[in-house]
């Protein structure tokens, strides 16, 4: 049994400290995911904290094999709620796939390439963007991404295939 599984078992018995360990382990992943979808850093932090609170409330119901995917699902739903409530849906993607600072230092060419890629991805549909983000940026499996998005694994694979084909075409053209 891995450490994560042990902490989950203890948290399910009501151990708040074990849940704190889970926060240590996954909080940055959730924060980055939230930040990649929301313009505001504070909003991403709020979503992260809220994700863990919701997870605590439902920890006894947790039966997934992948706790990380479970957290992403909760975070995904909270982000949707956030935009629904604040009517700030138009801001989605503003920060999406922003070229990271380390790569910027590597050289101008690579940064330009990444910027072009990020701009291309922003042209995709909402669900296509989500599939690309979960599969390649957050590195979730097709089944886990399907759980987060509330779709089937086959749908995720098909969407992923079509999106990549589209991306290739756009990138080749440019």
């Amino acid at each position: 049994m891995s450490d994560v599984e042990k902490w989950i078992r203890r948290a399910q018995k009501g151990d708040a400290q074990a849940f704190g360990r889970l926060f240590d382990r996954f909080s940055n992943d959730i924060f980055r995911y939230a930040l990649s979808r929301m313009y505001n850093r504070h909003a991403a932090e709020d979503v992260t904290a809220e994700t863990f609170k919701k997870t605590w409330e439902n920890i006894r119901k947790y039966k997934h094999k992948n706790f990380r995917a479970y957290l992403y699902t909760i975070a995904h739903n909270l982000i949707i709620d956030f935009y629904r409530k604040s009517s700030r849906l138009e801001r989605i993607g503003e920060r999406d796939f922003e070229a990271n600072q380390e790569n910027v230092e590597d050289g101008l060419y690579r940064t330009q390439q990444q910027k072009r890629l990020a701009a291309t991805i922003r042209k995709l549909g909402k669900m296509e963007r989500e599939v690309v983000r979960l599969r390649f940026v957050e590195e979730l499996g097709a089944k886990e991404a399907a759980k987060v998005l509330g779709k089937s694994a086959v749908w995720v694979r098909v969407t992923q295939f079509r999106t990549l084909r589209k991306l290739r075409k756009i990138l080749d053209e440019t």
Binding site: G20, R32, L35, T48, F97, E139
Partner: protein, 273 residues
Amino acid sequence: MKPEEKIKGLKLKESLSKTRKSRMKREVVYYANTNPLADKRFSLVPILPAVSTVMAIALLFLPVSILLAQSTPGSQLYPLKKFIEKGEGAVASVTGQKNEFKKLRVERRVDELEKTILQGNEESQSLAAKEVVETASEKVPDPEPVARRIKEAQKKAPTKEVKEKLGEAIAQLEEDARDASSSPTPLPEPTESSKAAEATQEAGLEEEIRSENITAVPTTPPEATEKVEAIENPEATVEAEIKEEAGSENISVEGLLKEDIKDLNIPDITGKL
């Protein structure tokens, strides 16, 4: 380079600052401590083995109980049915429902008899008739309807043997019915009208006693009677007292009377004297 590999390079490197992360952790742990986990929802899973066992037993016994109810004398399950019935009888005697049980039992026997007659199995019919005779030999409450049913079954019975046996049962039940009708009935509870009749009867008796000059024991002492008379006729009483006094002391009655009567404010009655 494949697009998916390029996309991987787009992962944000930003993360929560240490202070911010520790503050958020404190917040989350505090939330976890102040919001204890709710009790688990009711789940059937822990009691599933027990429920399934009960269901299995019920499913097993349901057909058996149906078969038992349908069994007739001569069938393999009939002894078991009788055995269970004995148990029922013991319970009925404890709960004070013996009469109801007896009635139910004799009705069951007659049902069995009717069933065997319909089936046409002579051996079973004979056994069922025997069972009816045995059950009827024990005093059955309300035997008349049962006797009627047996009479009807007797008409349908194909063999002489069965008819004779059923005749015995009918005779027994009819005798029980006669006994029940001839037994003294308990006295009814006194009603309002009966109480009134009783009161009238008592008044009649008192009158009868009076007409036969039967003196009743005085309920009041003689002194009390005198006092009552004095209250009713004060003048006569005073007169009598004065006469008595005068007689004993040789005093002129008339003079005394006048004076005393004046003092007493009693109307003058000396003229009358």
